[in-house]
Amino acid sequence: MYTHDAYSPLSLLQYSPLLMFLSDGESTDDDGDNEMCQIKKDFGFFGLQVKTLGFGSDATDRSIVAKLTKLAELAGGDFLQAIDGVQLKQCFEKAAASLAHRY
């Protein structure tokens, strides 16, 4: 089967998206909610996975945790927290390992 335009049938769905959002601080504006909702709306069908990560001691602040948790929830994803580099490494490894078992 050959396509008449630039996309082959399989390339339409070639990749499942994984979005990892890491911050060690809070947004100066209370923003990002609409953009995350749009991402979920556009790519949820393609198996979108979202993980938000708070990194560092500052990221234990309640408002930062709440914001990153909310962003994750808007996209049906998870919030992860890493106080130091060791925990951050574990978070990324866990995220990578989970991809192999999602089907």
Binding site: S16, P17, F21, D24, E26, D29, G32, L88, C91, A97
Partner: protein
């Protein structure tokens, strides 16, 4: 003869992930603290790439660093290449933090590896059936959650 069948492309492409990593790290504090944070981050991302490469994944990776603005560090880069170039790739943007520009850029980058259902309504494909001489076209119609192909 007309008939419809349902295909699941996801199952045959489970090893392909378009990874978009958005990173914001404050650059306050002394140089040592800042360097340590970026070093920790690079090690963490490198570990992610290593784990994925061990399962022979064919991922592509995009990385965006952001402060008040989003900066595209790499775009749809193959996994192995990203692992090689990661060390020199990441910069340390300073000043402010805004989530919206980074997420907007992420949406654009994800769109490079998939196509939004809102953008792809219907595409026409040549039919690969046995009746090529009499067959005109096959229509692939995108309807969440399944795809259907109408053949001749």
């Amino acid at each position: 003869m007309n008939h419809t069948r349902t295909l699941s492309f996801f199952l045959s492409h489970k090893d392909r992930i378009a990874v978009v990593v958005l990173i914001s790290l404050f650059c306050d504090g002394d140089n040592q603290a800042r360097d340590n944070r970026w070093s920790d981050l690079k090690m963490a991302v490198q570990s992610f790439l290593t784990v994925r490469s061990m399962v022979d994944a064919h991922d592509v990776v995009s990385i965006v660093t952001f402060n008040a603005h989003a900066i595209e560090e790499c775009k749809m880069m193959p996994l192995a290449k990203c692992a090689t170039e990661l060390e020199t790739m990441l910069g340390a943007p300073a000043g402010g933090t805004r989530f919206a520009p980074a997420l907007e850029m992420a949406r654009t980058l994800i769109d490079q590896g998939t196509k939004s259902p809102s953008q792809v309504k219907e595409r026409i494909f040549e039919c690969a059936c046995k009746h090529t001489s009499t067959c005109t076209r096959t229509t692939l119609t995108l309807r969440s959650p399944c795809y259907s192909i109408r053949r001749c």
